[in-house]
Amino acid sequence: MPKITINGKEIEFEKGMTVLQACELADVEIPRFCYHEKLSIAGNCRMCLVEMEKSPKPIASCAMPAAEGMNIKTNTTLVEKARKGVMEFLLANHPLDCPVCDQGGECDLQDQSLYYGVDKSRFVENKRYVKEKYMGPLIKTQMTRCIHCTRCVRFATEVAGVPEIGAIGRGENMEITTYLEKSMESELSANVIDLCPVGALTSKPYAFEARPWELKKTESVDVMDAVGSNIRVDTYNWEVKRILPRLNNEINEEWISDKTRYSCDGLLKQRLDVPYIKKNNKLQKSTWDEAINLLVDKIHSVQPNEIAGHIGDMINMENALSFKKFFETLKSENLEFREKNFYINSDEKMNYIFNSSIAGIEDADLILLVGTNPRHEASILNARIRKTFVQKKVPIFSIGNPGELNYKYEIIGDSTEDIKKIVNKENDFSQKLLSAKKPIIIIGESALELKSGRYIFEEFKKFLIKNNLINENWNGINILIQNASTVGLLDLKILQDKKEQSSSFFDNLKNRKFKLLYLLGSDNLEFQKNDEFIVYQGSHGDRGAEIADLILPSATYTEQNGLYENLEGRIQECKKASYPIGEALEDWKIFNQIIKKIGFKDYKVNFDELRKEVLETAPNFSGLNELPKKSVIKTNNIETSFFSEKIFVRELDYYYTNSISRSSKTMSECRQIRQKIKKDGTNN
């Protein structure tokens, strides 16, 4: 490896690194504004100037490729003077409004001016003023503070794939704006707030809410979709003030979706704080004793097979396990967690996870989407596909029309006939697929919902195994799960081994076989309510609570510890950042109380036992935050029957997918704007 000398210390660096990266290897800090690891290099802030031997002028280390034998100095008077000079220029037009700026306390400019700047200003002329720009309901702008690092411009163009932000004008009159001040049409738009090194782009919903040093920070994971983005939850007393991304290159890199970030105001609204009982067709406040007594009476009054349970989209694995145990004591087997009856084969782990892994998408040389819109179903995963597309020009194909995805793709068909042709090698595309070394097939829930869902998955799997495209090194068959709880629940074998009757829950529900329906945080199950007695246990007064006869309040994902398994089968821990509101309890505690009341006096399971059992039950488990062990590849001949059907990609109401985001004011605003854009047809 080539060597470079930094401050007299010789270190080895990888070819292709810049001087700045080499300095980081040597543990030398270089101040910077415009440089960001995940974005292209701009080299326009000049803050990273360092001295290079044999160079008459200081060099911009972020843009200079490191070369063998370079001698870099970062601690000389020249460098110090250069930094001071740059800092003075940057501050010439930057307002001194730190006391009223939301970035205060976590501002790169503030910190770096303290460490590298001059203590007073020599600039006596007028400072420039730039009008505020409208950038949508999430981003608050104060463009006078902008130092033109263009990080936001590069993020929008490169990562988000919506080239809508740009720098207009020139010189002193340069301004950052969106095209004609329209809101940014992206699910990742709010990441520009984190990227902004100053207070020019700040968070609109969080404006003047708190200072960073007042907040308690809890490292957690997100449950808005099945990606399991790593987040940091910032709380002030009980209130969740904001959610920020945490760096995890395996999953979300440095980004999170807008829904992850801004649903948090939904945690404060529409909350269920005490048990409610429906009396005279009206929900009335009650007590835990009364509520549980009523529930136990109801349970005793019906047959076990008339009791059914449905688990919602944001339930953690421990709670789901205790729910399962609760149903075991009731001797009922009618448990379900799918919202729509889509085909899933829970025999082995590789049948229901994203086998290629999210980071593995970057190795792919062909991507085929089958009945899925990753942009809405898993925005972060879509960003990874885009990254692969931009960097490697990977060809992307789709069966079914997913709409705008921020990268170019080719629709090669819209019916199951096309899939039949591919697996029977009857069309050109199968040749492309076979000649690829690392193809990725992503099957969405919309495709699995079809009658031929079973055909689509099993035949693709057979096809890939037969042609050695699923092997020890590469597994290209992927299911794109939408809900955070789904993979974990599959691991816990909530769907019991009754393969042929796997639709029985939905049939029975439709045929009014159930007398008591227990909804555990489940709001998205679509069915016609008849005379069932419905128990809703959850955190928000949403669709589930609306139809319930009995409501038991429980905690949200930020208010309890719990394990979630993301779509890759990676088990991650969601940590308690706040505490449940009012009389609400964690779900497992509620089940303990109910089971005791039913008659199992000695029944008591504590949280640690539940977690231990979860980790023991989960197949292929290798460690927290780790990818699961690889499944042994088996060719079991599952018979499938073919139906000729159109493949539709179900449109997802992106900002309104779960009870928390539906309660969020911010999400409603985003949704309204999105709908307006759709109606007016102003495409950009």
Partner: protein, 201 residues
Amino acid sequence: MSVKKVHDNQPKEFKFSDENLKKVEEILKRYPKKNKKSAVMPLLYLAQRQNNNWIPLAAMKHIANYLAMPYISVYEVATFYTMYNLSPVGKHFVQVCTTTPCLLRGADKIVKLCKENISPNENEISKKGNCSWMEVECLGACVSAPMIQINDDYYEDLDEKSTKEILTSLINDKPLKPGSYRGRKNTSPEKNLISNGEKHA
């Protein structure tokens, strides 16, 4: 000077005329196919020519679609360069050079005359509706300073009297001839026209 603003009253549609479309094809041939967005500047200029010396938003959109570029990128280019006009200008568009050599030779007097004769402010169309003026940076004719550019032509070696005559002629829609107003031929010395090799006086 501040950042250029787009005009409030925008035409809804813009399309290149058939004649200009041929020119567009010609321009595109100059650049590699994969880099056709390099043609954005000549195309913007062509659009400006076609549309009475200013570029409406519709033209930017048209060009963006034509070159498969994001709208904002075309917008960035159009706002960056001072020679693209984003709002209507007069039929006679006067650009007064006020960079150092011209200023030393009295460009400020020309600006004053423009203010008196055309309109009190830059980029404002005159009362009669056929003139507008703006200050610009060096137009590269320092040797015959002070000078102004009217549409495509340079009017050089000006003084207050000649400028006033020129401006009046513009307002009356009968523009005077371009060139030096002290009788010079191109940029040659005023007196003692000397052939090559001999010393200047």
